[in-house]
Symmetry: C2
Subunit: 818 residues, 2 copies
């Protein structure tokens, strides 16, 4: 979505003011990259892309550029949009053509959320900008063009928005507008008129004056005709776009039964889920429909009335925002106003919130809304998608309600660093380029910066894909990291009879007993086929350790059955050649070999009919051994934190959440991610006690303690220590210890370690070693290490501390996290 919008924005701009903010950053980054590489806009010039110190600066730059007659744009979201508001009021007040593209995102309230909803754009609805909402990747592309064309025709600036992540980060097959299309939509006369209005010394005018009470109000009304003209102009541009491309849009688009009684009114990506629901329900004979608002400001009152069948008696308006204390959410109030002032017989209108902070919004939820709209005494205000056991606003959702899709779907569990997302994006493209095949990719990241889990949701099929929610009954689930099975129920959303592809360090005939029992149960009950491959081993053997994506991708194509496997393998090899060709033939050949080996080694496991007698524990009891001082805190951590860590946060009801965003501290200790593939191992005989490893560790997972020898009582066998070289602490021992389950394996400790073995140049006092070989031993050592008492600081004279450089890291860093 971001690329689809940015492509148009860049082609139609001379000045692009940027400042990065998730999820809009991609638009600015692309524009910046295009400008740097000399890509030209529609008129053969390279747009000037300027990164400012904040979104306030970006908005000011846009405002200034527009006043010089430049065609200008910017991209933002959330708080970034808030910082643009002062300039937006002025840009609109001065009737200056401009487009701000927004990947709509939640505004930080009780907590920050980088995810999507409409609270940011709703905070901008007072500015006087026109607002056009795209609800799919194709629309993000089309409406970007419509916005740039319409703003030049109307002089009213446009805020073009689409849902953060759900649309901005979705990959989908779209039809691109060509230069000729854009040239046809954006009329030279409008551009010339804009440029004639620029501030210039040869025909000076004055803007940005101060007006007193005598004339401000009159002047504020003088622009009315320009705003009034926007809806008709947008319709005009829509019509021209339809002429060029065949894609027809209205200010409000209706779909569903022509004699619908119940209708949902909404805007944004959620209309994909509702549209699918409507299609299914109408096919079942229900009289329901969906009105999708395209132009939100100026609000298209007449178009909304015209779009809705006269038979409608019950409307549910869905808002993806929350304004505490409002008489109703914004779109709801607009619809209420529209009907209250119309000649229609009284229609019952209820309003609900959904999808805040990218909360999933599924056909089952849409169905729940239609059900509510059918009730004699519905909730006037509701939420959907959560369980509200506090104010009771939420609707019950029947999760069994699902929409059937032609085509196939797949879900991939992997780690952020293992290349899976990149490979999946490539797969979507390979399939999307096939004639008559559509493809969609959507990628869920947790918000850990390093070693995060990624879940890829892919759909393919013969029809355009408008499912704007996660895959629910996957034909194929792939798990690219065996370790994830301990923590996540990766088969929760696979269809009966589906395929499970597992990268495992075990042969097919040894695999079963290594699977968690939950998984075994699901495999049997769901009658799954299970395929396995030891991708890590193959990668190591091919001297490309860790690069499992090249191995897993062909396995996926072999199993998903969506296109000819040979064609797919050919395409993969082509992309390998493109990606690595510059690095030499050897690399290309290794990757090609990986592809071939993958297909050769992929093995189907024979699924036993019974659970294995023994297997790994279903869940790790990570609370064990952790001191929790407060019962309530423990209860909170058990109920809330651990549920979230287990990826089940969606199930938490409203009552489980802090009312004001206040959390207990130090709960990261309950989340042992064990994501390091290599961990540091200490060699006491080489150590010079400098403590640099402990100082630099970005996750504070290497720790240093000095202690009296008696502290070693009860130490596990092989616990390491050495004499502490300190005059002040005579007779003390020193241990440097890693917390193996917290370490991310970055290796910075090794890099800073100055203690080299004189005989072996590469050996230091800290060295990285395979985690699977060392983790258990180091964990036992770590547990003992944490029990060694801290030195009594009072017993050490201040002077001696001050004079001992060696002690600095000790006292700076010990005890910060126990």
């Amino acid at each position: 979505g971001n690329e689809a919008a940015a492509k148009v924005a860049y082609a139609l701009s001379e000045v692009v003011a940027i400042y990065p903010i998730t999820p809009a950053s991609t638009m600015g980054e692309l524009a910046d990259a295009w400008s740097a590489s000399g890509t030209t806009n529609l008129w053969g010039a390279v747009p000037e892309v300027v990164e400012l110190q904040s979104e306030a600066g970006a908005a000011g730059t846009l405002h200034g550029a527009l006043q010089t007659g430049a065609l200008g744009t910017t991209f933002t979201a959330s708080q970034g949009l808030l910082l643009m508001l002062p300039n937006m009021f002025k840009i609109a007040g001065e009737l200056t053509p401009a487009v701000i593209h927004v990947a709509a995102r939640a505004i930080a309230t009780h907590a920050l959320s980088i995810f999507g909803d409409h609270s940011d754009v709703m905070a901008a609805r007072t500015t006087g900008f026109a607002m056009l909402c795209a609800s799919s990747v194709q629309e993000a592309h089309d409406f970007a063009a419509v916005s740039h064309a319409a703003t030049l025709r109307t002089r009213v600036p446009f805020l073009h928005f689409f849902d953060g992540f759900r649309t901005s980060h979705e990959i989908n097959r779209i039809d691109l507008l060509g230069d000729d299309d854009l040239r046809s939509l954006v009329r030279p006369d409008d551009i010339a008129a804009h440029k004639m209005r620029r501030l210039r010394p040869t025909a000076p005018v004055m803007r940005g004056t101060a007006q007193n009470p005598d004339v401000f109000f009159q002047a504020r009304e003088a622009s009315n005709p320009y705003h009034d003209a926007v809806p008709a102009t947008v319709e005009e541009v829509f019509a021209e776009l339809a002429e060029l491309t065949g894609r027809r849009y209205g200010l409000v688009d209706y779909e569903g039964a022509p004699d619908a009684e119940r209708v949902i009114v909404m805007m944004g990506s959620g209309s994909g889920a509702v549209g699918e629901t409507v299609a299914k329900l109408v096919a079942d004979g229900e009289k329901v429909g969906l009105a999708t608002i395209r132009l939100f400001r100026p609000f298209p009152t007449e178009a909304l009335l015209a779009a809705l069948p006269a038979t409608v008696s019950s409307i549910a308006v869905l808002d993806r925002t929350k304004e505490p204390g409002a008489a109703g959410e914004p779109l709801f109030q607009d619809v209420i106003t529209t009907f209250a002032e119309s000649d229609r017989p009284k229609v019952r209108i209820i309003g609900g919130r959904y999808g805040l902070g990218s909360k999933e919004f599924t056909p089952a939820m849409a169905k729940a809304v239609f059900d509510e709209a059918a009730r004699a005494d519905p909730k006037r205000r509701f939420t959907v998608g959560i369980i509200d056991d506090v104010t009771g606003l939420s609707l019950d959702v029947d999760d069994d309600f699902q929409v059937d899709h032609p085509g196939r779907s797949a879900v991939f569990y992997a780690l952020g660093s293992d290349g899976t997302v990149g490979a999946n994006k490539a797969s979507v493209k390979i399939i999307g380029y096939e004639p008559d095949l559509y493809a969609q990719g959507y990628f869920v990241y947790d918000s850990k910066k390093s070693g995060s889990m990624t879940v890829s949701h892919l759909r393919f099929g013969p029809e355009p894909i408008r499912s704007t929610y996660l895959v629910q009954e996957a034909d194929l689930v792939a798990c690219h990291q065996f370790g994830l099975l301990d923590h996540f129920d990766v088969l929760a959303d696979i269809r009966r009879g589906g395929t499970f592809l597992l990268n495992a360090p075990f042969a097919a005939d040894e695999l079963w007993e290594h699977l968690p029992r939950t998984l075994q149960r699901r495999i049997i009950e769901q009658e799954l086929r299970v395929f396995t491959i030891d991708a890590a081993r193959i990668a190591r053997e091919l001297k490309m350790p860790g690069r499992i994506n090249t191995i897993m991708q062909p396995c996926f194509f072999a199993l998903i059955d969506v296109m000819d496997v040979d064609r797919a393998i050919g395409a993969i090899k082509e992309s390998i050649s493109e990606a690595y060709g510059r690095r030499g033939r050897l690399i290309v050949e290794r990757n090609d070999a990986a592809v071939d080996l993958a297909l050769a080694e992929l093995t189907e496991m024979v699924v036993p009919s019974e659970l294995a007698d023994e297997s790994v524990a279903d869940t790790l009891d990570v609370l064990d051994g952790v001191a929790i001082h407060d019962f309530n805190e423990r209860a909170f951590v058990e109920k809330v934190t651990m549920t979230m860590i287990a990826g089940q946060g969606d199930l938490l009801p409203v009552s489980a959440m802090p009312i004001d965003g206040t959390y207990p501290t130090g709960t990261t200790r309950f989340e042992k991610r064990k994501l390091a593939l290599q961990i540091p191992v200490w060699e006491p005989d080489l150590c010079i006690d400098c403590g640099k490893c402990a100082v630099v560790c970005p996750h504070a997972t290497i720790r240093m303690k000095a202690f009296v020898p008696s502290a070693l009582d009860g130490a596990p066998e092989g616990f390491l220590s050495k004499s502490f070289r300190s005059r002040e602490l005579d007779g003390h021992l020193l241990t440097i210890q890693v917390a193996p389950d917290d370490c991310t394996g970055c290796g910075i400790c090794v890099e800073v370690c100055p203690a080299k073995d004189k005989t072996q140049v590469k050996r230091k006092a800290i060295n990285m070693a395979p985690a699977d070989e060392h983790r258990d031993v180091e964990r036992e050592r770590w547990h003992f290490f944490t029990s060694i008492p801290e030195l009594d600081r009072a017993a050490i004279s201040h002077d001696s501390v001050k004079n001992s450089q060696l002690l600095e890291p000790l006292f700076e860093f010990s005890g910060a996290c126990s």
Copy 2:
């Protein structure tokens, strides 16, 4: 209003974060001054007042202070409030008690406006703050206390707002809340609870986390009960306030006929004008009423329905904001929603805008709204207070409709620097302290920084004064500056038989022929009594030149007949003693003498029955002699600019205004303010050609030209010049000339002039001299001076220019403004 609110805010705060912005600055300035002088809050501590780098910083400081458990507040308006939005979302999301006091002001759009409307607070309605609106000075005081009390009880932060200027800058007699009142409203337990929630190392918690899609939505709903509880809590605090003070407020207050059919719903100061109108119309038997919204967020749906009589069939909602493209303005949509969801039979609701940028809002306009609400086919959307000949939204207003007031009113025309406003504020206080007398003062400034005209509007009477509009039929009009008569129709709003007090440099029996004919006509037709005094002369004679306020104030009391004159004179002398006591007895005696002399010299003019045969021109034809290159520009200047300069901008229709705030440049040349009492006069024989006077003049009204002697052909008699001391420009002459009608009389030119007469220490090459003696001559010289051609720069070699320090100012400053 600002002082009334700040007094409470200061008493109830520990940290006050400030940044100045009109019209809220006074609140911050007062808090700063109180803190500097050691004034304590309710608990005996001196609040910390911190001025930040912008309102963004003030909001951040407030947010941070609140998290430490401090009781915090800030003051702002307009763009300042926009900069606070990001922090406001967080303060509200974290359920942190806080109050932001806003003197509501227009947001800059096509033009900046420092004046009042609700566009700023409306842009903050998405934040989750509760919003409480005061509509008078008393309410600004009371509701400040209610806000601080209610925020502590509910944990929902409050935005307390009142109309910029109309309320923030109105002086009115109010009852102050005592410390015991405040102590009773603000409960210790609530404060303790707030402090227990503070961030602290001894009981650490975490706030400001990031939440992912799994739980953000649930957490966003978890605070619902807190917002839901706000209306009842505000009612509870209102009830306690009533118990303490007898002043009763509701969430929505209704006044008018108990069986009203037509009702206006609104909030803010305009309810004063509507309330008076309702009282008059109901007395005339009309079934009308007014519902004033106090609590705007959370919107008090039930209270609104409860407040309005069941008989209401037609509602007009007035919004003091404009959101181009909205389906309706915010309050209008809230009322629509309220009724659409109620069981009431269908009520017709129309919505209008009024008072943008402090546009006057009078009883006549309120009457026009009631008239519209009575029509069979009213405008669904309208404006009132302007003439909209573009989109036809405005209502016709019958300006003859006025409300009768008990008591007296007075209007004063003066200059910003002459002390009139200060004296009038003192007069309001003198009268306000009388038992059973109420007083109101409101002061209209133009936005010129220096030498601006001020118009003071004073009302006095036996009843509380809630007329929230300018005085319309003044009992007394005083003009403290004779020069203003040329430009302004100072008697436009005087009642028949009223009193005109004029500070004039003419004796009573010589005055008539010096008055503009318009004024003469009004005096005769309106049967006015005219009193005159030469205050400037008296002030000079008492060696306090320019300080005419001490002389005009007793004249006002002698004529207005609102309280015993002797008591008033006594109070004036007391205030003189207070104000000047520290400066010594001589100053006090002079001022006392001025008071006595004023009463002695105040003389009534015998009004002739006929216009004088000759008098000064009615209007200056300032366009004469100015080169206007473009017909359209001239038309614009004549129609718009000159109308505004003449103080008649209110009469300009919408079509007269630029749609986007674009103006022709250089139109200040059409506004000859002639406000200098002293102007600089040049002495060529002392001048050393340095040009410093021209360099430093802040209004560029002193200019320097070098020219060939032949350029003096046609010079007026006595035009001054001297030989230009320059090797490069041999044989040239030099003239330094003031533009006497543009000069503001600041005297900086004299201060920088280094050319002193060696015999007379105080005489320089530029000296200030009385403007009335020199203006005509200098104006003639100025006109000739502007006709002297500029030197041909190309004829002067670059090197010679570079080497001639003398020429620098010449080339820097000549020609910048012709």
